[in-house]
Point group: C2
Chain length 136, copies 2
Amino acid sequence: MKNKHGSKRALTRNQSLVFEALRKAKNPVGAYELLDQLREHGLRAPLQIYRTLDQLIELKIVHRLESLNAWTLCCDAEHDSTPVFAICNDCGIVTECFDENISSNIQKISKRSGFVADRSVIEIHGRCDQCETSQG
Amino acid sequence: MKNKHGSKRALTRNQSLVFEALRKAKNPVGAYELLDQLREHGLRAPLQIYRTLDQLIELKIVHRLESLNAWTLCCDAEHDSTPVFAICNDCGIVTECFDENISSNIQKISKRSGFVADRSVIEIHGRCDQCETSQG
DNA sequence: ATAGGTATTGTTATATTATAACGATTCTAT
DNA sequence: ATAGAATCGTTATAATATAACAATACCTAT
């Protein structure tokens, strides 16, 4: 099994467990919520979760949402560019999107001051289409 | 005394204490670090700090950096638009900047999917000019 | 100016999120 | 098979944040 980014290895047991838990979840999930869900599968300590999440991030198949202290699967798209997350305040759903312009704007902003960007956190809070239309 | 956004009230004692502590700091400061600094001035409990920070954010004179769990003064500029923070991994310095394009891109991205944006978190991590040039 | 209601503030306790330290296990190259 | 390196499990604890309620300050109408 290869992951979508061409890494050779299959996921470890812990990685699969966490990955599947995230896949089943509709929304981003916190570390302790994952721990609760995975206790029955033998994960007992927070560090097991945190370490596994770090690994999945390293593999580029999971993202951390900084403003939620929660994690979510990466969308299917291969991307090296900065993802933009739209986070609904009402239903909590998070949509990952991309925008060439934003990426290049960030490059521009930072270059302007000699700053060399490394990683960007872009999280938009608001109301998703569905929540917006369904109940005013 | 008016603040820069035209609010009528002077800052309360707690607000002034926290504001000054942030002003003196070179970099963003965490809540418990503020608490430690302000204990001698009578602030004893975390909530006193957290509440005051919320108030200062409400007044638009302080920002929270989500990816640092820390707070910093708002730059002098009046702005309603989304600030972009450039955060140096080395020296920790944070620069607040603006970019019309980013703001409008975010509008576009979100509108594209019917999302109504509310507040945006944009935090770029990397290396500042000074750190970049000074030690390769 | 004062009583009665409303807001804010202080305090205690506790919840939530994350990491340090170290021993046990597994992996890898010989 | 075995030594060294890397990973993993476990215990303990650190760091960050909030709930609940009592005490105080503050309006506002009289």
